[in-house]
Symmetry: C3
Subunit: 352 residues, 3 copies
């Protein structure tokens, strides 16, 4: 249950710095590497000669060389050369559209002809020197849609993240959810509350008093296939909240790229972009460390939830008002998936 | 192949002291915790909201609070409250009868209406200050019935436990096995033999000479669903054996509660109750350590046996005279299981 | 897809020195031990009493005693005795022909009546004091035929073993492959090349200059079911190469016994026999260490290849000229397997 004709974050550039990377994305075994001119390339991780994993090979002069018998593979999936062989008749392997942008490697696991880099989710903060970004990657044994549910309803912070970003007022403040085209936005505004530990630290990080009431906001944006950007922040109470002057607030974007691996596992690229004190690398590291703990808490909850759903596959779940963000996001996915399958009835469901 | 309408040992109280415990019993995923008034409660480990594992939650003022979104669950499986929600229409989850008694938490994984705490196996030693108890828990990858076979035929001590409780005379002394109603008793009496190491240590623990011949006995009692109490002991030879005066013997009960997890795995609650020198905690610890080694030896044998049976599922096994205890116990289980299934033809076999 | 009526290396003598060894060979769970007169015996690893693993037992006075209840098993699979039992009617378990020869234990997992020790692959170096041998064992998660492909085409050395035995000239020198009866021979001769690190070390091991050009050869011999002996060596260039006088060359045989465990796993007995400086134990150890690294590199490649083939089971692989050794070897296996199945249509495919 995932879209194939979409751009997903596949990896970060550092993961292909030293050698090729083998990673399964949407059920496809793919090797990522830097080809000619340092351009990112993505191919089936399957040597057409004997089925060796190309990801165990090396890149030589911009071409991927199979680590088994030296077959030289082109970025288009056509064999370029092999010692002592004529390679004209070698079967082509699949090449996947791949693009490096905004500090990530993006891949299109579906039909290549439809892949338009212009459709890659725009990330303004990634190109603006007034912003800083730090993040990480978790491999999680759950359907990526459980993470969509999780991130489009932050009520859980009160319980799952009680010691860092949770606070009772989250629970007590209703959310507003709306679908706009193919996006879903869920918002919660809490005024005149005391900041929890993670936000106290961020206030100090922006040289603001951390022991006074604040106005706090959470605005979650879902866009297909599975990108969730959450505007979060606090401003000293009464200064305008979300719209307060930058000197009175700390404002960040929680960045979540959810990339399906199989039907029940995913790659979770998480991070935070902030526009306060962007040059402070120690602050970036400190936020990153805090987030790593927070998302590890989510991971434990979601993996246990997935095991439960596997055990009771037929059981109906509730869809409450707080679940509206996830419900509406899944509805968009269902619609797009139906369109994708209607356009290509041959498409097989991905392997689990 | 296990009875559902029966009381099983689920856990020990210390396992739910700090937080809820998730454990699968007879194929049922169950969360155990202390509810109102410190009473033990057992529920499906599945939050009716989104399927989270309730065992990751916390107990607040006697109620289990889901660790994901704060749903408050009652001990009867009905949702009590959830922040910002009306919960009247929430589906009920299953509540399992659970009782704390004799230092164990007991659960009834079958039809609740049939659960009568009066049917819990009576353990006289557990309530008598003249007795001491120590024990432990092993998670074993085998059908619990292999452990019934094991415990209802102690011939194996000569081989599996050669360095602790085994001795050649066990082999050479025939057993008597009889079925009495729903119980099976297998007895062996060995007179005028030298005590093996474990019993020499126990004789010393009761301030008795350990280098003289003894009369030794083993009386194994099986009762459904899978409780085995083994009267064991040695008396200085010629003093009356099993019936000797307490000052001339050491007498204990090996306590074995076998709780199926799946068709091929089990929870093994093992221990020893003794009525000599009951206040000596160092002796309790020493006996427990000895038993832990003994039962680890059984575990290795039974897990390898299970792998063999998985590999050769159709092969017939022998039923010798020494196997009579296991054979007769299984026959009782088969009969009770047929009754249980006849009474509830809808009952599905448990998941493996 | 493996022959059952064949001699395979099952283990080395040191593996049964202390206690019985349980090992699955061609899908058969077998226990190996030393029976009467220290003769090697091989039986189903399944006690006819209750299915215990006989490999957990002990050998007493030349007979295998089950570690569970003391059943005494004869080397022919007939129960000899059991304490307190008449064993005449006990079902026989399967006995496998087993022979100790050339420093290995050989087993015949198929029909015992066909097992003729004279068919065991002759190993001249194993009985000749002018030769030394050292080797090891790897457990590899791949179809043993992937290892046949690997060893019957050494082109991969250039890539997989670039830092030890690989060199560019391997790639550039064509091979000759021929089938002779049930054997396949693939040869490559490289003249006037610089020796790579592994061979430089061996030249020094035979007190020869290591910084001069050499003639290098690789002659791979496949014989069913899956034994591959590779004649390898280097001679100072121009001295006659393969046929050079022993004082001008270093000559060895890479010994590879591939024993299937299941359809997708194998036991790899690897080693090297050499006829230079045979008494130098430090040299034997050094060569063994070098080989261990080399074959670990192969293991990583083959296990990834197997995962790829599992993922894409229907995909056709190429058969190039360099693959001729593997292709011709597999063709012989296919023919022999068809004969074996025609002779015994009841034979079930081995379990994976």
């Amino acid at each position: 249950m995932f879209l194939k004709n979409a751009w997903y974050v596949a990896c970060t550039p550092d993961e292909i710095d030293e050698k090729p990377l083998g990673r399964t994305i949407c059920g496809e075994k793919i090797v990522f590497y830097r080809g000619a001119g340092n351009q990112v390339a993505a191919l089936e991780d399957f040597c057409p000669h004997r089925g060796a994993a190309l990801s165990l090979g090396e890149v030589c002069e911009g071409q991927l060389v199979c680590g088994y018998h030296g077959l030289v593979m082109g970025c288009d999936g056509k064999t370029v050369a092999m010692p002592g062989q004529r390679v004209g008749g070698f079967p082509k392997i699949r090449a996947y559209p791949a693009v490096e942008r905004y500090g990530f490697i993006w891949v299109w696991p579906g039909e290549a002809a439809q892949a338009d880099p212009a459709k890659i989710h725009h990330l303004e903060w990634a190109e603006n020197p007034e912003w800083a970004y730090g993040g990480g990657l978790y491999h999680i044994q759950c359907d990526y849609r459980l993470m969509i549910d999780n991130l489009m309803d932050l009520t859980h912070e009160t319980y799952v993240h009680a010691t860092s970003i949770g606070q009772k007022e989250i629970d007590e403040t209703p959310v507003t959810t709306k679908t706009v085209g193919e996006s879903v936005v869920t918002s919660r505004f809490m005024n005149n509350v005391m900041p929890p530990p993670f936000w106290r630290a961020n206030l100090r990080g922006n040289h603001l008093a951390d022991d006074v009431p604040v106005d706090r906001w959470q605005v979650c944006h879902f866009t297909p296939p599975s990108h969730i950007m959450i505007e979060v922040g606090v401003a000293h109470a009464g200064k305008g909240g979300y719209d307060a002057d930058p000197k009175d607030k700390v404002y960040s974007i929680v960045v979540d790229f959810l990339t399906p691996e199989t039907e029940t596992s995913m790659w979770y690229f998480w991070g935070m972009a902030r526009n306060f004190n962007p040059k402070d690398k120690a602050l970036t590291a400190q936020i990153r460390e805090g987030q790593a703990k927070v998302f590890a808490e989510d991971m434990a909850v979601l993996e246990a939830q997935q095991r439960n759903l596997n055990r009771y596959p037929g059981r109906k779940l509730l869809m409450l008002n707080i679940d509206a963000g996830g419900v509406q996001s899944r509805r968009i996915l269902d619609r797009l998936l139906a369109q994708e399958q209607a356009a290509d009835p041959q498409q097989q469901p991905a392997l689990a």
